[in-house]
Symmetry: C2
Subunit: 164 residues, 2 copies
């Protein structure tokens, strides 16, 4: 395993185990067992590390969605489940600037392919659907629903609207 892979694996571990706030170049170096400046011999900057995490996250999300039942409710459920199980990764994938020039060009489309399929190839509808599932996940992750809110019911209402 190259030093570079070692660094990216460590970054992935920090992200999922310690959270995004702890993902610093200094902490990353510490986990790898080296001083922070040494990282720059193997990655250009932190943005490159983040881009790698986004790529890995998109691949994992694509896999989870591809394995879900293709019906809308199943797909929406798989999307939500994956996001809740990988909160910090989901945030990195969707909220941080996407450096597309550092990304495998196919990986973004692959993650959205199941959504595209559920919308019968209608781009506008696929984006509306993606917005809806992403929005519900994002509000939940950001703690915008009151503690006693029935979030499952909100998901059912969303699915009903798009199936209507």
């Amino acid at each position: 395993m190259s030093r570079r892979e070692e660094i990216l694996d460590a970054a992935e571990r920090i992200l999922s185990e310690e959270g995004i706030d702890r993902l610093s170049m200094r902490r990353l170096a510490e986990v790898v067992g080296v001083r922070a400046p040494s990282l720059y011999k193997h990655v250009a900057d932190k943005a490159e590390v983040v881009a790698a995490l986004q790529e890995r996250g998109l691949r994992a999300l694509a896999e989870a969605l591809a394995a879900a039942p293709p019906r809308l409710a199943g797909l929406a459920g798989a999307y939500r489940d994956w996001a809740l199980a990988h909160r910090d990764t989901y945030v990195v994938v969707t909220r941080m600037p996407l450096h597309r020039e550092l990304l495998d060009p196919e990986v973004e489309a692959a993650a959205l392919a199941p959504v595209m399929r559920a919308a019968n190839g209608d781009h506008a509808r696929a984006r509306a659907l993606w917005g809806a599932v992403h929005g519900l996940v994002d509000l939940e992750l950001s703690g915008r629903f009151p503690a006693d809110a029935d979030i499952d019911a909100a998901w059912r209402a969303m699915v009903a609207a798009f199936e209507g």
Copy 2:
């Protein structure tokens, strides 16, 4: 005008004019004309500054939505327009941790009241709708749609789904 108000006004100005990345206690102090430690005589910490910005943002959003045509398309359009016109404020309002204990308890509900009304008082439907409009805005603000995407069409598809 109290020093505290002066500080919060300056924070609002930095947020909208220089962006969230420049909103630091040190920059804030500089704009107010004082050293950073002095701020702590007037606000407890940065979280309190952010909470004040969230409250002001929610109030402004509530106003914009209340002034919109109550039909779904008009409401969705007003939501999107406001978010795009106040990008950094929108991000602070929706993405940063919401310190509800520092917030006027009615302001959050006030912002969502028009959405609630559009859902005929159905909480689940209102949350699905909020998720959908927020999600589309968030993906657009995060640059997740390709440059040639017809985002207007995505909004129409979303409105159609919920009106269906």
